[in-house]
């Protein structure tokens, strides 16, 4: 019973967050200076198309009515029509979504794979040189400016060493199993670029949670019982530190997705981030709104999944409710 309740609660929270995102977007467009009609109807459209859109969104109606109409449109899966491409925003974005997911998930996996050992290293050498080194590297990583990192990687590994291709998600004219290889090859540099930024914060958190865990009573007891420190570290402390780490992944997702905007632009990676960049230069508002909502949805779902996973793994949660 309690597990079901837990899951339901998380789903509920997720739904509320989405509603919040939708409301924020709606209010932003209606309350900011400038013509709200600009947000749905391009100046290039024919008069008929424009008038149709304006009635669809009820832009001449009072705000609450507009809100309901807006929600209605969203529930039907209608995110509007792109100004520049005159096709539904949903089509434009759904084509790009898989690439962004691929990129962000790869970056997160890389972050975890490298971040955990780094955190362990730092925690077990607390306040000594290795710890300081990891701390400094971690903080530096957090402070990097994404486009600069991307260009640097492109220059060094793409142009000078020719190890990796410049931009794009895969090479033209490649099929079957080779295609996967091509996708992987194109994935490396953007993933590394994105992961470098996240790595710092993740490693630092691992370190902090581990240090806390190592200070717990049961660890002292284990040490007193003569259990070797390495075993304590890896078998007990780490396991307990993993749980907050999972939640952290969920938290990081929002930032990773934001970082993807800049990374995809530099690497010409055909994801939603790049779609946002192109939409910005054209001021294609429906695409911008739709992209934000879609990204918010992705982040919320991911957070829900990690929270639910946390709930299953952490025995304290099951017994608490």
């Amino acid at each position: 019973m309690s597990i079901a309740l837990f899951v339901l609660r998380r789903l509920g929270r997720g739904a509320v967050t989405i509603l919040f995102a939708v409301t924020v977007t709606f209010l932003l467009l209606r309350l900011l200076p400038g013509d709200p009609a600009l947000a749905v109807a391009s100046t290039n459209m024919t008069e008929d198309a424009r008038a149709a859109l304006l009635t669809q969104y009820g832009l001449d109606q009072p705000l609450p009515v507009q809100y309901v109409l807006y929600l209605g449109q969203l529930l039907q899966g209608n995110l509007g029509t792109s100004f520049t491409q005159s096709v539904p925003v949903v089509d434009v974005l759904l084509q790009r979504l898989p690439w962004t997911l691929l990129l962000t998930i790869s970056a997160l996996v890389l972050t975890i794979v490298i971040g955990i050992p780094l955190g362990v290293l730092a925690a077990s050498h607390k306040n000594r040189f290795l710890d300081r080194l990891v701390q400094v590297l971690g903080v530096t990583g957090q402070s990097l400016f994404v486009p600069s990192v991307g260009i640097l990687l492109l220059l060094v590994f793409g142009l000078t060493f020719r190890w990796f291709p410049i931009g794009g998600a895969y090479s033209e004219g490649v099929y079957g199993m080779e295609w996967y290889g091509s996708v992987l090859q194109h994935l490396v540099l953007p993933t590394v670029s994105l992961a470098l930024i996240q790595l710092g914060s993740f490693a630092l958190t691992m370190r902090a949670t581990l240090i806390d865990a190592l200070g717990d009573d049961y660890v002292t007891l284990a040490k007193a019982n003569g259990i070797p420190p390495r075993r304590i570290l890896w078998k007990h402390a780490l396991r307990n530190a993993m749980l907050p780490a999972i939640t952290l992944i969920g938290l990081q997702l929002g930032f990773v997705v934001g970082g993807a905007v800049l990374t995809e632009t530099v690497f010409a990676y055909p994801g939603i981030g790049r779609g946002i960049y192109e939409a910005v230069t054209q001021l294609d508002f429906p695409v911008l709104q739709g992209a934000f909502l879609l990204l918010a949805l992705t982040v919320v779902i991911a957070n829900m999944l990690t929270d639910i996973a946390y709930g299953f793994l952490d025995p304290r949660v099951k017994t608490a409710s």
Partner: protein, 538 residues
């Protein structure tokens, strides 16, 4: 335990099979025998996606480049600005209100249908009737109807004499296959997005679209417009790179062979000095200019406009912002590239702040204690245009030297366009990419109510000259009329034409055979050029 591992392995195998279904499949081998033309693929980089496959609707550069490889124009243009044959072999006027085109009889559509005068006539009539928004429709003002009098001859009826329209329609309009477009209804709404495949007259046919990534086009075997009758490269792929820096890197690393969009001026010299990269010069067909809104009472005075004209350092703009890659037109809308029309007796406004001050005084303004006159002008430009964004600042500084205050207002493109349409500015700064026919351009720019009249003038003498020229069929006479008109524009500063920019495009040294044509829309990616390109032997 073993069951679990087996089950796991089984799942993995199934997953792998399922995943392999996601990867794109190799296309079937093309039918038809191999040709002497090679098997190479030409990869071209562009910065924007293709958003629209219907060439009759106004579109962006990438749209134009891709659809141009499928839908032919009647006429092309040469380096001297004169129109050249393409689909049409002969063209002209039967009488003052009837024009004609004679077209080739050896072109076919890729699905086997012959390309005849019927397609041409259909296209023109459909555009006139359905009014798709774009430059093609913009040329149709005096067009009434088109008829295919034979398989190779089209005659067009005009509502009034118009000596430019035959060439303008021929140059700007594509010809689309009637048997594909007609069943779809209005050409203004037909997306032509390729469900069921596209139909092309060559040299290439779009076969595969990966939105945001690449557009693959395959050779159409029969393309009489290229030497040898068959395009050399077997495939052409347009790849999208939103960032010009990444584009350049891709060219340097060999991932693309050509960059279709013109290079930023600062990059030209650098790439010219790079091994493995060639830079081709493309004649510019347009100009950059400022126009002064005469609805503003200060700007309605010709002395003030002249003062502003003398308050900008054109040389500095050309040498610094454009790296010397621009030429003066003598501040005249008749550009040097249009050699027949060019009048070198019209000279550029000299950069002379003192003269500007004198002119302001003549107009009745007195400078205050700081040396500034009691005027202030708002100059609009598009932030998305990096070159204009840069010289706007220089213009402002130059005017300040002459005591004239200019306030810069850069806006993003949509705002800029709507400000332009509403006349919401004092000074308009922008550029036109192609101004190929003086009469058409003057009509649009200087006649009251003209579509691109940004100066809001109404000069009776100028109007008369333009109207007369549009109905004059004798070329020598037309030229002298336009030169007179240009002198008036120059004296009255109805337009301040600042420079015509020569464009540069980069391509890999591994390829050759490109044929450059004026303007960025054609440059080295025009159909005949792409079909003639070949990979240099090792």
């Amino acid at each position: 335990m073993r069951h679990k591992t087996l089950a796991g392995a089984g799942l993995l195998a199934i997953a792998a099979l399922a995943l392999s279904a996601c990867a794109p499949q190799a296309p079937e081998a093309p039918s038809g025998g191999a040709s002497e033309a090679g098997n190479d693929t030409l990869t071209i980089a562009t910065t924007t996606d293709v958003v629209n496959y219907n060439p009759l609707i106004g579109n962006s550069r990438s749209d134009y480049w891709v659809t141009n490889l499928m839908y032919p124009h009647l006429l092309s243009i040469g380096d001297d600005g004169a129109k050249e044959a393409q689909l049409a072999t002969e063209w002209g006027y039967v009488d003052d209100t009837t024009g004609y085109y004679e077209i080739r009889d050896d072109m076919t559509w890729s699905d086997g249908e012959p390309l005849t005068a019927e397609d041409v006539a259909y296209t023109m009539n459909a555009v006139k009737q359905d009014q798709p928004s774009g430059t093609f429709y913009g040329q149709m003002t005096n067009f009434s109807s088109a008829t295919a009098v034979s398989d190779t001859r089209v005659e067009i009826e005009l509502t009034q004499p118009d000596s430019s329209i035959v060439e303008e329609i021929g140059f700007w309009g594509n010809v689309v296959p009637q048997h594909v477009f007609e069943p779809a209804g209005s050409v203004a709404e037909f997306a032509n997005d390729g469900s069921g495949g596209w139909v092309s007259a060559g040299p290439y046919l779009l076969t595969n679209v990966q939105v945001g990534q690449s557009y693959t086009m395959e050779r159409v075997e029969n393309y009489p417009l290229v030497e040898g009758g068959t395009p050399i490269a077997a495939k052409v792929v347009y790849r999208v790179y939103p960032d010009v820096n990444t584009e350049i890197l891709a060219l340097q690393s060999g991932e693309v062979d050509v960059i279709a969009n013109s290079l930023p001026p600062a990059q030209v010299q650098q790439l010219q000095n790079t091994d493995g990269i060639e830079v081709a010069e493309v004649t510019g067909l347009g100009y950059a200019h400022m126009t002064y809104n005469m609805q503003n009472p200060d700007l309605a005075k010709v002395e003030v406009r002249q003062a502003l004209a003398h308050a900008a350092d054109y040389e500095a703009i050309r040498s610094v912002v454009l790296q010397g890659q621009a030429d003066s037109t003598g501040s005249s809308p008749l550009m040097p590239v249009l050699s027949k029309y060019y009048d070198d007796s019209i000279t550029e406004y000299a950069f002379d702040p003192d003269q500007s001050r004198q002119l302001m005084e003549d107009a009745g303004y007195t400078a205050d204690a700081d040396g500034m006159y009691p005027v202030s002008f708002r100059l609009i430009y598009s932030l998305q245009d990096p070159v204009t964004s840069q010289w706007a600042q220089l213009v402002k500084d130059g005017a300040a030297q002459a005591g004239i205050r200019i306030e810069l207002q850069g806006s993003e493109r949509n705002t800029y366009l709507s400000q332009t349409n509403d006349g919401d500015y004092d000074i308009y700064a922008g550029n036109f990419a192609i101004m190929d026919d003086p009469v058409t351009n003057f009509s649009l720019s200087y006649l009251p109510g003209g579509a691109i009249n940004y100066t809001y003038n109404d000069d009776a003498e100028l109007n008369a000259l333009i109207a007369e020229a549009s109905q004059t069929f004798d070329e020598a006479e037309k030229i002298s009329l336009m030169q007179e008109a240009a002198k008036i524009v120059h004296e009255q500063v109805y337009d301040n034409v600042m420079y015509t920019q020569n464009l540069y495009v980069a391509y890999s040294s591994e390829w050759d055979g490109f044929i450059s044509k004026p303007s960025e829309l054609l440059s080295i990616v025009n159909p005949v050029s792409v079909a003639s390109a070949f990979r240099v032997a090792e």
